[in-house]
Amino acid sequence: MQHTIILSLSLAAFWLANSGHNTALMLSLGAISITIVVYIAHRMDVVDHEAQPLHLTLKIPGYYAWLIKEIIVANLLVVKHIWLGNKSISPGFTTVTASQKTDIGKVIYANSITLTPGTVTVNLQGDQFMVHALLRESIKNLESGEMDRRVTQLEN
Amino acid sequence: MLIAATIAILVVMIMATVRAIIGPTLYDRVLAVNMFGTKTVLLISLLGFVMGRPEFLDIAIVYALINFISVIGILRYSENFIVKPTEQQKK
């Protein structure tokens, strides 16, 4: 029930942000479309704690701030090596162990690895992630485990 | 400055097209097409401001979604057959 209310509210906010019209006809059409979407989401059985991770709401802004800083640093490193040329890169595969327990924690961790340029998650098997990295420094950075620790903190 | 950024995006789109034409494997081409699509989203929003019509942003949102679905569709379709891999991964 809680998830249904949050889904309706966020859909309403999205609709209002995209429309910009405030006549009665438009608003009622919007309400009808939101009702249909919520009904379809219920039939697809996706209205649960995985689609709307409400328990993360308070902790996620701090994590995003840290992640954006990481993304900027990694971007500058990759751009530097693009201009330095093929001789300066050291690509390779590595395996990372994730310490998260829930599926959503693992997905956040894998997505964060992929979102940082220089590292891409290729394959997930259990808690073993196969990661391709552009530089040996990125592998070392990943194996120091700071991102892993922060995501694990996020889910408790 | 808006026009300079538009020209830079167009240059990057030309680079992506070159990679899509010469790319040795299917996956290089899909990567280049994906990059072309995301740059198109930026190009549409920049052009909306250059022409003074910010309504173009709605088209940019829809284009981002269509681009994503088309890439996923091509990758699902490519599961039906096996293509030649790149040299590096064969080792």
């Binding site: 979102l115 290729v122 | 950024a5 680079m15 992506a16 990567l31 929003s45 949102i61 490519s78």
Partner: protein, 113 residues
């Protein structure tokens, strides 16, 4: 004040354009698929963010800014998903190719027709 807004917007757009062109050079220059994927990652995260922030500063209208933020969030959620789908599809293809590499396998097709 007006000049400040114009100058900072121009600065963001300039940095974004430079990062975009770097990614374009990377996709032409790097030797194989996975390294090229990192070059595309640069254009899809920081370059997109910089150009869209430049547009947000350039434009005072609130409704338009919200749409720009929606595009920004959408590209942040879409880009890792597409990258991961592409990487795992390429990996799966390589594995099947290795287990299947025999002269009599008929269903193997080259990507270069």
């Amino acid at each position: 004040m007006d000049t400040l807004i114009q100058v900072s917007s121009a600065l963001f757009l300039l940095v974004g354009s430079f990062l975009c062109i770097s990614g374009g050079v990377g996709i032409l220059r790097f030797p194989d698929l996975f390294t090229r994927m990192h070059a595309v990652g640069v254009t899809e995260t920081l370059a997109t963010t910089m150009i869209l922030i430049g547009l947000i500063i350039h434009n005072p209208d609130f409704m338009v800014d919200i749409k720009l933020i929606i595009i920004l969030l959408m590209s942040f959620f879409i880009s890792p998903t597409a990258s991961h789908a592409l990487a795992s599809a390429a990996m799966r293809n390589d594995r099947l190719w290795e287990s299947n590499e025999k002269p009599d396998s008929k269903q193997v097709k080259s990507s270069n027709p």
